[in-house]
Symmetry: C2
Subunit: 242 residues, 2 copies
Amino acid sequence: MTEVTRSPKGPGSVVGRIADVLQLLQDSMPIQRRIVRPGDSVYQVGQAFGTLYVVNSGYYKMVNLSGEGREQVVGLYFKGDWLGLDGIATAHYTCDAVAMDTGEVWAIRYDALIQAAAHTPALLTALHEAMSRELTRDHESMLSLCTLPADARVAGFLRYWAHALAQRGQRTDQITLRMTRAEIGNYLGMTLETVSRALSRLARGDVIRFSEKGRRDIQIPQVDALTAFIQSTVAPMAAAVH
Amino acid sequence: MTEVTRSPKGPGSVVGRIADVLQLLQDSMPIQRRIVRPGDSVYQVGQAFGTLYVVNSGYYKMVNLSGEGREQVVGLYFKGDWLGLDGIATAHYTCDAVAMDTGEVWAIRYDALIQAAAHTPALLTALHEAMSRELTRDHESMLSLCTLPADARVAGFLRYWAHALAQRGQRTDQITLRMTRAEIGNYLGMTLETVSRALSRLARGDVIRFSEKGRRDIQIPQVDALTAFIQSTVAPMAAAVH
DNA sequence: CGTTCATTTGAGAAACCTCAAGATTGGTGG
DNA sequence: CCACCAATCTTGAGGTTTCTCAAATGAACG
C-alpha cells in the first residue's frame, strides 16, 4: 500500500482514494489543466500519443471507430478516471475521448510521469491501478453484453452510473444521464427504441421513476432493486428447487 | 497490412518484439517457469494478487464469473501476452486464467518487476504496452459484439486467431482452434449452434474450408476474404452509390 | 467397440430490430 | 413570455435474427 497524504473524507474510503490520486498528481507532477465543453474531443483516434488525461470534473465517453464507419462507445469516465491509456502501446490513440458535459481534465505527459515515478513510486501505482481497473471494467461490460437481455443491461447501466456517482460522494437516488437514448443504446449494444422500452418497463415495475424535470433525470429509490431485477432476468426459476 | 511473413525474425518485426520481451524478462528478472496442462488454472478469481504471468507457449482463455453463475470468456492469450493484469487494482484476481492446451507460463512477482524496472526501464515499457494493448483489444471486442451480426463475429474471430498466429511467426493458412463451439460462442456472445451454422455458411461461401482431420482444423485460403466478408455484412449496399 | 462428448442441421419460439407516427423537450427569435 | 423549430423520446406493428429444443451424425478414448 502506498502512503499518501489522506484527504479529509476519511482514510480508506473510495472518495478519499480518488481525491488522493488527484492531490498526488497535483503535488508531484507538472499538470496542464484543460477545460472542455460538451462535444469536445480530449483526443482523437490516430493522433500521436504523448499525454494522459485525468478527469477532474465532467463526464466523458470513449468512442471506437471502425474503418467503415461503425461506431462504438466503449467506456464511460468520471472524476479520477484516466483517459488515453489505449495510446501507450502503439504510440497513437486508438479511440476518441469525448466530453459529454463541461468539465476539466489534467493533461500529464507520459514520459514526465515515468520520470517522476522514479522518486514518487505512488505515481506508478496510481497508473497501474487505473489501467487494471479499466481492464476489469471492460470485462464486466463484456459479461453484460454477452449474458444479459436488453432490459437487464439497461438496469446494469443505471446501476453502474449510480455506483460511479456514489464512489465520488454524490447522491445516487436521483441521477441525470448525460447521454441520449441513442448513445446509451450504442454503449449497450441495442437500439434506442429498445433502451426507451426497457426504461419504460423498469419504471412500470417501479424499479426506477422518471422525474418531472425530464426523461433524462431518473430516480432510483433503491439501487438494490436494480440488482434484484438483473438477477431475476437471468435466474427466474431460482426458487423452484426440489 | 503488417509485413510479418517476409522477414519473420528481423529487427522491428512483431515476432522479434515478442521474442525481445521474453528475452528481456529472462535476462533481468527472477523468473519462475510453470508448465500447465489443458484445463489448468494459471490463477483463479478471488485469489490474492502478487504475480503476473507471461505466456511462453500454449493458448489461454480468461473467464469472468458473475456471482450467480453467468460465465464469460473475456479474452484469449498467446505467446508473449501477459496474464493477471486485472489483479493489480484490487490486489485480487478478478478472473480465471485457464490453459486451453499444454504450455508454459513465466511467473513474475509484481513487486519484483517494479523494483527491477528502476534500473531496467524497458521492463516498465513492456508492462505498459501489454496493458494498453489489452485495453485496445477489449475495445475491439466490444465493437464486434455490438456492431456485427453473428456470422461476421465468427469471421472476425477466425481473423483474430490467424493474425495472432501470424504475429508469432506461425502459418495462418491452416489453423487449429483450441476451443469448442460452445467456448467460441460464449466468447462471441452467441450459442454454439449459431457458431456452427456460421462456420458452415463461411465454408459454403468458400471463405474457409474444413480440413479432413476434423472440424476444429480450419483452412483459411486468404485472410483478406474474411475481412471482405465482414465488411459485406455491415455495408451490403456499398456499391449502390448514385 | 461401445460410451461419451462435440458437432451439425432442422423447425418453431422469442427477443430484438426496423419502420413509422406522435408526443415531448429544449432552444431561439420575435 | 410566447411561438416555433429541431432534436429527442415514446409507443406500436411487423419483420428478421438469433435462441431453444430436438434428433442425428461424427469424433475421441478407454
